[in-house]
Amino acid sequence: MRRRAWRAGGRRRGGGPRYPGWLALPAAGWYAAFFLVPLGFVVAYSFAALEGYAGIAFAWNLDNYRSLWDPLYGGVFKRTLGLSLFGTAATLLVGFPFAYWLARYAQRKTLLLLLVVVPFWTSFLIRTYAWLIILDPEFPLFRALHSVGVVGADLNLLYTPKAIYIGVVYNYLPLMVLPLYAALERLDWSLVEAAQDLGDPPWRAFRRITLPLALPGVVAGSLLVFIPLTGEYLIPVILGGDKTVFAGNLIAQQFLEAHDWPFGSAIAVVVIAAMTVVLVAFSRIAARQETQGG
C-alpha cells in the first residue's frame, strides 16, 4: 500500500523518486551555523570599535565605514576591481582558445585535461613562490629572452604589479578552462561544419552557433574567477613584495598586523556586498539565458 502511494506520488510529479526534503537539513544546518552565523558576526563586528590594544567595544556606529570613505581606500577598492576584471578577461582570452582546441580538435581529451589539472596538485604556495625564481633576472629565462632581444637588460619583474598579474592568470586559469571546456565539449561540431559547408565564413559560424552555446561556460568560469579574485591577497604578498595592496590584503592586515578586527570586518562587509551584487547580476543573466532556450 505504502509502495504504491510512493510510486503514485512519483508518477504524478513526473520526476521520478521523491527524496524527502529533510535530507537537505544537515547541510543547510551546517551552512547556517558555520557560514551564515560567522558572516553575521563579521557584520556585527563592523559596527564595533577597537579598544585598547586588541579589545572590541561594541559601539554600534558607522565609524569604520566612515573611515573607509577615504579616497585612499577607494583607490584600493578600485585597484581590486581592476585586478578582478583583468584576471577574468585575461583568463578568458587565454583559456577560451585553449578550451576550444581541447574540445574540438584534441585527440586524447581526458588525458590532456588531466594534464591541465596536474600542476595544481602541488601546493599553491610553492607554485607561486616558484614564479619568483622564474622572474628573477638571474634566472636563465630572462638571460635567454634578453639575448634574443625580446626584453631590455634592466627589466625586473620581481615584486612588481606585473608579477602579480602573471601569478593571478597562472593560478586562476584552470578555474576558467574547466567550465569552458565542459560547455564546449557538449557542442555538436557537425553543426558548425554544416554552417561552413553552407557558405558561412568561420567567424560567422562561431558567432552564431559556438558562442551562444559556450556562453554558460563563459559565465560560470567568469564567476569562478572574478569573485574569489576580489579577495586575493597571497599573490600580491608573495609576488608583489607586500607593496601593492588589494581589498584582501587590507582585511588580512587588520586581522594579523593592526589588530583592528572591527575595521577589518567593515572592509570584509564591503567585499561581501560587492560579491552579492555580482552574484545576483549573474544569476539574472543565467536565468534569462535559460528562458531564452540557451
Partner: protein, 372 residues
C-alpha cells in the same frame, strides 16, 4: 545517450574509480598510523614529553634542539610567527597549547594585559637565577618578573652592502635619502609597524614612542613618500635579498645585519638620531600544555655553553653574565659592536613603550602606508 553524455557523466565515471583508488592508496600509505598514532598525538597531554615552541623563525641554533632533547628527554615541536602582532593575533584568536613563545618586550606587556600569559615559576629556573645579568631582571615591561625571562636583546637599525653602496651612511636621514634617490628600488624595510614608524619618527627628531597625532602625521607623509622606492616590505626575506644584492639597503635588526656581514661585505648601523633597543623574552602563553617543559628549556639555554651556541647562530646579545661567556663565546662575537653595542650607543636608544592610543594611530598609518 552515450554520445551526448555530458562531460560530467563521462568524466565522473572514470573519476569515480580514480577517486576510490586514490583515497584507498593514500589511506593504505598512511596505514595504521592514521588510526592510533594520529589521534594519540593530537590533543592529549604528554606531560614531560613534549615542548611546543612558538618562535620567530631562524631564532634557535638547530644544534640546540637535539642537545636539549638529549639533556632533558623532552622533544621539541616548533611553530613559527613572523611578527609580534601575528603572535598576538594567534593567541587572541584562541590558539591554546603553545608552551613557549618569545615576544618582544612591549608585546609582553600587551599580552599580560590581555591575560594571555601564564606566570613564570622562578623556583624552576636555578641556572637562570645564577647566570642572568642583573640588568635583565625587572625590566620596565615586566617589573616583577612575573611573566617573562629575557632571551636576548638587540637593536633596530639599518644594513647596507659596503661593496654596492659608495656612501657610508651613519644617520637615518642619510638612509632614507639614499633610499629615495640613488638606490631607489633596492631598499627593503621590515614588515613591522613599530620598527618602521619608530625609525622614521626618530629621523624627524621625535621620540621612537611618540603618540602625538601631528607628529605621526608627518611620519606618515614621509613614509608615503618613501613607499614607491621600496623593493619589498619583509622581515624574513631581506637577509637573502641583501646577500644576493637585489637589495643594497635594508631596515633591519642587528643580528640579521651581522649574519649578512658574515657572508658578504656589509655594515650594520644604528642611526645617529637614535633607534630602538629591544629585549625579546620567553613567555608561557595561557593554556600551555606542558609549562614544565617550557621552564626546562629556559633553564637549559641559560647554561653558558648552550647560550654561546645560541649567540653564535643568531648574533643577538646575550643576557647571560659576560664573565661567564668569556670562556665559551668566540671573541670576535663578544667584541662585535653590532652584537654587543657599547654603552654610549645604547644610551641613545629607546625601548618600545607605545601607548594604546599611539598603537591605534600607528596601525592606521601602517594600513595607509601599505595601501598607498
Amino acid at each position: 545517450m552515450s554520445d551526448q553524455e555530458s562531460f560530467w557523466q563521462r568524466g565522473v565515471d572514470r573519476k569515480g574509480f580514480v577517486a576510490a583508488a586514490g583515497l584507498a592508496a593514500l589511506a593504505a600509505a598512511s596505514g595504521g598510523r592514521l588510526g592510533a598514532d594520529a589521534f594519540a598525538a593530537v590533543g592529549r597531554d604528554e606531560a614531560g614529553g613534549e615542548l611546543l615552541y612558538y618562535n620567530w623563525a631562524d631564532y634557535v641554533n638547530p644544534k640546540t634542539y637535539p642537545a636539549f632533547e638529549k639533556a632533558t628527554g623532552i622533544k621539541v615541536k616548533k611553530d613559527f610567527y613572523a611578527s609580534n602582532e601575528a603572535l598576538l593575533a594567534k593567541l587572541k584568536g584562541g590558539a591554546r597549547g603553545y608552551d613557549l613563545a618569545v615576544p618582544t618586550g612591549y608585546m609582553v606587556q600587551i599580552l599580560a594585559q590581555e591575560k594571555l600569559l601564564e606566570p613564570i615559576d622562578w623556583s624552576k629556573l636555578p641556572t637562570v637565577k645564577k647566570n642572568i645579568n642583573q640588568k635583565f631582571r625587572r625590566l620596565p615591561f615586566d617589573p616583577q618578573d612575573r611573566y617573562s625571562v629575557a632571551k636576548d636583546w638587540g637593536t633596530t637599525g639599518f644594513i647596507y652592502r659596503t661593496d654596492l653602496v659608495k656612501e657610508r651612511p651613519t644617520s637615518w636621514r642619510e638612509f632614507f635619502t639614499l633610499a629615495k634617490t640613488t638606490y631607489s628600488g633596492k631598499v627593503t624595510v621590515l614588515d613591522g609597524i613599530p620598527e618602521v614608524i619608530g625609525s622614521m619618527a626618530v629621523m624627524l627628531g621625535y621620540s621612537y614612542n611618540t603618540d602625538s597625532k601631528s607628529q605621526l602625521d608627518k611620519v606618515k607623509q614621509e613614509l608615503i613618500a618613501l613607499k614607491p622606492h621600496l623593493l619589498a616590505i619583509t622581515s624574513t626575506e631581506y637577509k637573502q635579498l641583501l646577500i644576493s644584492g637585489k637589495a643594497v639597503l635594508g631596515l633591519g635588526w642587528n643580528g640579521d645585519g651581522a649574519a649578512v656581514a658574515a657572508k658578504k661585505p656589509a655594515q650594520y648601523v644604528i642611526g645617529k638620531e637614535g633607534g630602538e633597543f629591544w629585549v625579546d623574552s620567553y613567555v608561557i602563553p595561557v593554556g600551555a600544555k606542558n609549562p614544565d617543559a617550557a621552564h626546562a628549556w629556559i633553564d637549559y639555554v641559560y647554561g653558558p655553553k648552550a647560550n654561546a651556541v645560541e649567540t653564535e647562530y643568531t648574533y643577538y646579545g646575550s643576557p647571560v653574565k659576560t664573565s661567564l661567556l668569556k670562556g665559551v663565546l668566540a671573541a670576535e662575537i663578544l667584541g662585535n659592536p653590532a652584537v654587543f653595542p657599547p654603552p654610549n650607543v645604547l644610551a641613545k636608544l629607546e625601548p618600545n613603550k607605545v601607548s594604546a592610543r599611539g598603537t591605534q594611530l600607528r596601525n592606521r598609518i601602517w594600513t595607509e602606508f601599505k595601501a598607498s
